[in-house]
């Protein structure tokens, strides 16, 4: 197990190097002169030159990359063009809502997805199964920014039913639970749908196996068979999906933060894109990609731990 963890960590090094190359090249792939773009269209040649100097754009590319990576390794992601403050500080202020939102939504989608998937699987090919799977397909097909707006419409602004207003939650911000409920639902629905589908098909595969029949033959209660014996093995492929799902969740967080005006990393990055503040964009992409890679290492380790059949080396 230990060697596996070490090996897995070593394997991520080339991926992380690749990620830094990609974020580094973002600034060089822009059509036109990045210094001119960042200094603004009305900037004088001197200001552009100053910006070029500040960004180190006069050095040869390999030197620039080396400087960039050694900066990143020391936690220096450069300075925001707009505010002039360190990118790492700017990100540090805003990362908490994003991480909280992503974690809570993952928890919600795993919880709902597992229950729905198991319920559908034990009722295979009945009306209940079809219904759950249709709802899941619907959840998978919804743009989350639209769902967010609908939730704001009906549960934050609210409508009057029998003299009672349904607007019990907050429409924007992040902090109190009234503010957190709607964004977490918004972001969690698609994941719940995917996990439900995965759980169902994985349960169906497991439930026909001999050891389940043996357990039933021994007189083990059906509930124990389903939740103890079957679900435990059905969970194995689900775990991988949860890890991969975390990536789209981080992406979805960008949209969700925008809809609910949450002052998180995602919204910050969109503002940076609009303002062409490249250091912020590079830093944000790097941090999010790093989070995604780390979560997937944890998931991989968990996966090997759950699935003892896989050779650890």
């Amino acid at each position: 197990m230990f060697t596996f963890i070490i090996r897995r960590l070593v394997q991520t090094i080339p991926v992380l190097i690749g990620v830094t190359i990609l974020t580094f090249s973002m600034i060089h792939l822009v059509p036109g002169d990045p210094a001119q773009i960042m200094a603004g269209e009305s900037a004088s040649p001197q200001q552009v030159e100053l910006m070029r100097e500040r960004l180190g754009l006069n050095d040869p590319i390999p030197v620039q990359y080396f400087d960039y990576v050694s900066g990143v390794l020391q936690g220096d992601l450069g300075n925001s063009v707009r505010s002039g403050r360190a990118v790492s500080d700017e990100i540090a202020i805003r990362i908490r809502p994003t991480v909280e939102l992503a974690t809570m939504s993952t928890a919600l989608s795993v919880f709902i997805g597992l229950i729905a998937g198991v319920l559908a699987a034990v009722r295979r090919n009945t009306f209940g199964d079809t219904f759950i799977m249709l709802v899941a397909l619907f959840g998978l097909s919804m743009p989350n920014f639209w769902l967010g707006i609908m939730l704001i419409q009906y549960l934050a602004i609210g409508v009057d039913i029998f003299g009672f207003n349904t607007g019990i939650f907050a429409a924007s911000g992040w902090g109190t639970w009234q503010q957190q409920v709607l964004p977490v639902i918004t972001l969690g629905v698609a994941g719940a749908a995917i996990i439900a589908r995965m759980t169902r098909s994985s349960m169906l595969e497991v439930i026909d196996q001999d050891y389940i029949r043996t357990a039933r033959a021994k007189g083990v209660k059906e509930r124990v068979v389903v939740y103890r014996h079957a679900l435990k093995n059905a969970m194995i492929p689900v775990v991988t999906v949860v890890g991969l799902q975390f990536g789209s969740l981080l992406g979805g967080a960008v949209l969700t933060e925008s809809v609910f005006a949450i002052n998180g990393l995602g919204r910050f990055m969109i503002d940076a894109i609009r303002a062409r503040d490249f250091p912020i964009m590079q830093g944000g992409v790097l941090v999010l990609a790093f989070m995604f890679v780390s979560v997937n290492i944890v998931v991989d380790i968990l996966y090997r731990f759950l699935n003892k059949r896989i050779d650890l080396n």
């Binding site: 973002m26 743009p143 704001i152 960008v254 990055m269 894109i273 964009m281 999010l288 995604f292």
Partner: protein, 298 residues
């Protein structure tokens, strides 16, 4: 000897074309699948609406009537009007082709690049394989929409750039599918046999490897159209894609947001349109998977 060969050719000609037989059996399976039939039917209807519908809309997509702005649905305006008094129904119909084209074109881009890279990686193996697949891992390490955001931020906000961005982020999925199948087929004995008969690499790839991956590719491509439409509309919603006054649904939704308090329909309707189209592709993809490729899962 010569005659025998001719005989063989005659027999081969008399037998029904194997690809036709396969197609017929696929159709038979598809017909039994409700989701494939409903989803596929809807997709066809949407394509028809997208290219014929614009000739029959009651108003132009950019025709403004500020006096009648934010009107609720009525017989005059089936789905009401937006903040500039434009007919939402007409805009939805005109936006349909944008939505479908974004989905199709980006998936075709991803498919072509992905298939190419996947075959090279799987067929030649070794260091080329390692480099290509590591690069795919890196692309996968970027959450999809973020990668697209990064690309759009480099290229500038426009619908074409969204298509490129969304296409690039679907490359790894296709590359992985093709690489896996290529690896599996490459090791089969009959490939060795035809190679020793002098078949070129290109012939082996096109005649013997590609046909083996068409089923999973078609299924994945259909499902990818659905996710691509979602991602692209998200980018337009953020203002990084189609720019006003283009009747793109994500951008329309974004416009409608400002009037959420009084005129809910302006933001609701484009979203419903996106849901219906994406749902159709997902249904179709699910049905195709059951018919073509029962082993493949989510």
């Amino acid at each position: 000897m010569r005659e025998e060969i001719n005989n063989g050719a005659a027999i081969a000609k008399a037998a029904p074309n194997p690809s036709f037989v396969k197609l017929a059996s696929v159709w038979k399976k598809l017909r039994r699948s409700y989701s494939a039939m409903i989803g596929g039917g809807l997709v066809l209807i949407f394509i028809l609406i997208a290219y014929v519908g614009p000739y029959f809309t009651p108003y132009g997509p950019r025709e403004q009537n500020v006096i009648n702005k934010l009107a609720l649905p009525s017989s005059e305006h089936l789905l009401g009007t937006d903040h500039l008094g434009r007919d939402i129904f007409s805009r939805i119909i005109h936006g349909m082709s944008i939505t479908l084209e974004v989905g199709f074109v980006s998936v075709v881009i991803g498919l072509i690049i992905g298939v190419f890279l996947g075959i090279i990686a799987g067929y030649y193996g070794g260091r080329i394989d390692t480099i290509i697949m590591r690069f795919m891992d890196i692309l996968l390490a970027f959450p999809g929409i973020l990668l697209a955001m990064a690309i759009v931020s480099v290229l500038g906000p426009a619908i074409v750039n969204v298509i490129i961005a969304v296409g690039i982020f679907s490359v790894p999925v296709f590359a992985r599918i093709v690489r896996g199948s290529t690896l599996a087929v490459r090791k089969l004995e009959y490939i060795d046999a035809i190679r020793s008969l002098g078949a070129s690499d290109a012939r082996i790839i096109f005649k013997h490897i590609l046909p083996n991956v068409t089923s999973p590719l078609i299924v994945q491509a259909t499902l990818s159209v659905a996710t691509s439409i979602l991602t692209a509309s998200g980018l337009s919603f953020l203002g990084l894609g189609a720019q006003p006054p283009t009747p793109e649904w994500g951008a329309m939704l974004s416009d409608g947001r400002a009037y959420m308090y009084d005129s809910a329909h302006v933001a609701t309707i484009p979203g419903v349109a996106i849901v219906i189209v994406v749902l159709a592709f997902n249904l179709f993809g699910d049905g195709l998977r059951d018919a073509l490729d029962p082993k493949m899962k989510n």
